[in-house]
Symmetry: C2
Subunit: 727 residues, 2 copies
């Protein structure tokens, strides 16, 4: 026994162990492979990286990780981890250079996979270094020439934070989403061949710049190019912020923007520029050049291609959403299996190590997971994570293909190839603009619902939910505010649909917009048929877009007026995209795979849950009837939830998140919830023999033992005193 106890105690570990042993009819390994892009290679790579991370003592957080530590202390420990990650990157690059790989061919995808995997454990550390190696260098890659990228990344060795530590100077205090309206200026002087960078007023102060407050010595500044008084729009410039002694360059003002809701470990700062001069070639010149002889600006219309490099962040956030969903549903579902409350236990024997031990005198309560309401709160979130994983891998692969095309020598030689690449890039852009928002909102909702599903203990810092939520929710705002992105995506889809109706070509992943359906097609829909449900989802997106078009007529083509509708269209498109993606991957699994029965039901639950949660719109457009909604509900509650409940431990095990990644006793693999939680609380908090040594203990005692009001007021108002003072 782990502590002195009588027999009559809750044993969540036996519940979980027994359910793990008895309630699984599929291979957890096969399921894991499916979740990792249906690829053995990916699945193995994730496991290898997970092992590497789990063993790294610099990257491992201390038990006090969830304590309120001061911002400076969090910043410092985060930097130690940033250094360690940079060293991994350095090795990966060095190995390739040693093997003669040229700069242009160096592949850091292994390093990026380390970051993505570590992000579920420590998002702030990953963001902090990804601003440098991801955003800063992606901006240089996207906007700069190869020579420029190779200089900053490899000749200077900056890619792995040697000599150069970059930050990404886009957002301004008064300008977030609207990049085209940024107000920082870069004015060119043909005489000195330099740019002068200026912050015209407080609203144009660069704000939220991660790394600026303390770490960065360079910044990729987004500023308006001004030449001979003419404004050529927003371009990118490399500006040194700190010199070789890490002292600020004169004209550069920097401050720390201080505390945030989460991710305190990132040193976000503000920057103001006052007449800071940089050489001509510090402008990134892939799509814009200045011809000094003709005194003119050569502005390429293809500068939209620059954003391809930044899409990686947005697509990565979809993968993050999958992983955070996997993490929090694992915690809440394991807790739901181990925790009892109220009603009579359904099966007592699972409380015991072996069924022979059953003590029928015990009044055991019901496991949380046996309540239909609890099932409905959690299992659809798990199902969404399953479907989301396919969508995330699909998007990563699509973006990889586009980025390869962007790097291809074909690009500038072959116009057809160029146009195709531009179209493909735009397609990824539109899809990610719908899927990033809804996926990050899913993440926020999953964390919050899973926290609530763990009751009071969910509110303990050691449940991990609080910090996970606080770190997470910025994903709904940065790299494109979720509302703004969704509306933009909905707008693009509307245009695709209008093109489709006119017989013009639409991108391949929007081909479904050319279809035509009528409600009667679905009058006898078999709700267990996932492929048919996808067609219903097609119809739903089409119906929503057609409503957008109708409303646009009403409002004289004022797109702002149909904002809420476009938003909902993009939201529903995302659900459709999840379903399409997971079915694509499902169809690619082996015919006799053991995971199929569970997976079919998982997918089906996701689809039917989506219908139920959006039943207002399905009914509104007449796509389904009232009695069909009743059928959907009956299938959810009578078939799918009970089926999946009995496989629930295996379904969370299939995420293969070790206790290192779970990082809370409420969701550990062995399910020894109460002992581990109690021990963790005491290891962090109660290391002294008793509680009498608190600094303010005396203050409490002095207050409790205070004298009467009369004593504390020098008895000035006592009757005797007042007598002396007059009548």
């Amino acid at each position: 026994m782990s502590r002195v106890e009588k027999n009559n105690i809750p044993r969540p570990y036996n519940l979980i162990a027994n359910e793990r042993a008895n309630n699984s009819d599929f291979s957890v390994d096969e399921m894991f492979k499916f979740l990792e892009g249906n690829s053995d290679q990916h699945a193995n790579s994730i496991l290898e990286i997970s092992k590497l991370l789990e063993r790294d003592l610099v990257l491992r957080n201390k038990p006090g990780y969830y304590e309120n530590t001061s911002k400076d202390e969090i910043r410092r420990t985060t930097f130690l981890k940033v250094k360690q990650l940079a060293l991994y990157c350095e090795r990966i690059v060095a190995e390739q250079l040693a093997n003669g790989v040229p700069y242009d061919k160096i592949d850091i995808s292994q390093y990026n996979n380390i970051l993505f995997t570590y992000a579920v454990y420590d998002p702030q550390t990953v963001t902090r270094i990804a601003i440098h190696s991801g955003l800063f260098y992606s901006a240089i890659k996207g906007n700069g020439t190869k020579a420029q990228f190779n200089y900053w990344a490899f000749e200077r060795e900056g890619l792995y934070a040697k000599g150069v530590y970059g930050c990404f100077g886009m957002t301004e205090l008064a300008h977030g989403s609207n990049v085209a309206a940024l107000e920082t200026t870069a004015e060119y002087d043909f005489k000195t061949k330099t740019f002068t960078i200026n912050t015209p007023h407080i609203g144009a102060t660069k704000w939220w710049i991660g790394g600026a407050a303390t770490t960065a010595n360079h910044c990729c500044v987004y500023a308006r190019l001004i030449v001979k008084g003419k404004d050529y729009g927003v371009k990118t410039f490399i500006v040194q912020l700190r010199d070789v002694d890490h002292h600020l360059i004169p004209g550069v003002s920097i401050g720390d923007i201080g505390a945030k809701m989460g991710r305190q470990g990132i040193d976000n700062g503000w920057i103001q520029f006052t007449n800071v001069k940089i050489p001509k070639n510090f402008m990134l010149q892939k799509y814009v050049q200045i011809n000094d002889d003709e005194e003119e600006v050569i502005n390429s219309p293809m500068d939209q291609l620059a954003y391809g490099a930044l899409l990686g962040g947005r697509v990565g956030m979809v993968m993050d959403s999958y992983r955070v969903g996997a993490k929090v549903t694992t915690i809440a579902l394991r807790y739901a299996v181990g925790r009892r409350q109220f009603g009579k236990a359904v099966n007592k024997e699972t409380n015991f190590a072996s069924p022979q031990q059953v003590d029928n005198s015990l009044k055991l309560e019901k496991q949380l997971i046996d309540y239909p309401n609890h099932q409905y709160r959690l299992i659809p979130l798990l199902a969404t994570a399953y479907c989301l994983s396919s969508a995330a891998y699909r998007m990563v692969r699509n973006l990889d293909a586009v980025n390869s095309a962007l790097e291809s020598t074909q690009l500038l030689k072959n116009k057809k190839f160029l146009f195709k690449t531009i179209e493909d890039l735009k397609e990824v852009f539109v899809i990610s603009a719908a899927v990033k928002p809804s996926s990050t909102w899913y993440g926020a909702k999953a964390i919050d619902e899973c926290r609530q599903a763990c009751g009071g203990h969910g509110y303990s810092a050691y449940s991990s939910f609080g910090q996970t939520y606080n770190d997470w929710v910025v994903q709904c705002t940065w790299e494109g505010d979720n509302n703004v992105l969704s509306m933009n995506s909905g707008r693009s889809m509307t245009k695709y649909r209008q093109s489709a109706l006119k017989g013009r070509p639409v991108p391949s992943q929007f081909k479904f917009l050319t279809k035509s359906y009528k409600p009667s097609d679905f009058a006898k829909l078999d709700f267990s048929d996932n492929a048919r449900l996808l067609e219903l989802f097609d119809f739903m997106v089409i119906s929503m877009i057609d409503e957008v078009v109708a409303q646009l007529k009403k409002y004289n083509k004022d797109f702002d007026k149909v904002g809420p509708l476009m938003l909902n269209t993009a939201k529903f498109f995302c659900q459709r995209y999840y379903l399409e993606s997971v079915l694509l991957y499902f169809d690619a699994t082996e015919a006799n795979s053991s995971i199929k029965p569970a997976l079919v039901n998982i997918i089906n639950l996701f689809a039917l849950y989506t219908i139920k949660e959006n039943s207002g719109v399905f009914l509104r457009f007449g796509l389904l009837s009232q009695s069909q909604i009743a059928l959907v509900e009956s299938r959810i509650f009578d078939d799918l939830l009970p089926f999946l409940r009995h496989r629930i431990v295996a379904l969370t095990d299939a995420f293969k998140l070790s206790d290192f990644f779970i990082n809370t006793p409420l969701g550990n693999y062995d399910g020894d919830i109460y002992n581990k939680y109690f021990d963790l609380v005491n290891s962090v908090n109660n290391n002294k023999s008793d509680y009498d040594d608190y600094a303010y203990q005396d203050e409490i005692l002095k207050f409790l033992k205070r004298g009467s009001i009369e004593e504390r007021e020098y008895h000035e108002k006592d009757a005797k005193t007042l007598e002396k003072l007059g009548k």
Copy 2:
């Protein structure tokens, strides 16, 4: 000018000042009175208390309030404020005692109003003292005799934290919501006339006990009364935890449960009892006594009345929900008026102090508030706060009436009066079990949506949203988990409906369940008619309950199976309750009041928003047609939102939350968003001449300037070295 700037700058303060001056057609004072229970007296009292709090330098938080401070430091500053609040309580009691008021008649409602008002500013401080003066003393009042209450509260002067500091020992590690299953035991010994308190195993450890970790010296322990081996269920016992030197009593083990998602200032702890003996009279004896002569337990069946005293907390949380909604919508809506993004400005002149100054060369962007999507995100949340205020005041008044009845001498003399009181108490119980969950969920949603609506700046700690959210969301869990409470409430409503159908009496606020409607009654519904909409809401609740009943048949009366349906019933009942309450108060306003036109539209928006958000259920039950939903949407977007948008500054001013309560530059009254935000960030963070003095600056520099891998590895792998080591 506040800093050196050219003319071309964003001026949110002019936007807000001009809208305040020009876009209001009602009296803000009258509206404020309406919001404070439609009572001049309440409105004035709130303003007086607000002034008192705003001026109190102990209660005022420092500018670093939103920084990551260590838990110990937050605990200490919170305790200083707890002391100050206790001193207010002491004065209020002392004044009455000096005027000869007997213990039984002492009224601390003024002190409680101070707590409620302060809670919107500093929830953790209020909770910390309210656990003592509210929960601990409410438990004594509810369960104890008058003599017991008077001793602990007044003779010992404990009520205002003199000598006695209490905590509330209900929750256990393995038992939260299910109080009846608590496992701590209190075994009576007739020989020694003492109880022995024991924690049988780790799962029964008292957990989450606010005040236990450091402050409390007494605990009201909920434990099973065991007499001669028989279990009489859970009763309440006063147990001393710490002695007069504040040292733990032997047998009492206490630990700090450490960091939480929010409210770090509360010293929650765990407690284990090992054979702790207390005298017989330390059991609270209003509803249970032990007769030593007969060696028997006298257990009153009326012990449910004890919970009346605890309902205050639950009802208070509805008021909290109103105030937090008021706070966050004020911030987000003022920000939405001052902040510009994207599209062309609708009216440029409001940017300037006077219309003569308009500079048409300025490219001004559109105010956020002019986007229909932004309006739809925020204005319904404001409208909900308006309706919620009426519901909160109504519940407070109902509970006050019940509590007066519970204190009445009639109670034990007049059986009819007793039964009526039991029924009334149950009615408040059922209503609060529906309204507390949905209101606290509204609070969480409002904070989160308002944060997102402030974009990136919403994620800054100085926006206040982060801490407000973290402090808030525990309200969805404590004093009855929202899901559990809602399902229980839905179950009671189902029973009321079944009684109603059988012609049996139902409580007055559930009389609407006796009505009968048919869909055709609403076929020609005028959606601007709030009174008719209330009837529609009646019908909706009735339809949902009838569905619960139908499903219960299907599932053989297994209430757990219909949990999700009961939950939704309670949720919708709450919306109906808001509507009914606000219409009650609206009907009581003066006929020619200037606030009526705005108020009618606010209420209408709330009702139609509720329909739109629940359209799936309205359509499912056939209460409304598809075309009616379209009408609802058109009325929201074409009439109500544009109407309210033009009064939006006045509608937030009407909450009368001064900058002290708003506590963030994003939502200050004067709207000088950027200057004040910038100044606050720098006053807290950037007080040094530059950033070169960071403790880990050297570490950064050393890392950036590190040598090559070869150097760092002692050149052991250089070709020359390897040559020496063999072939």
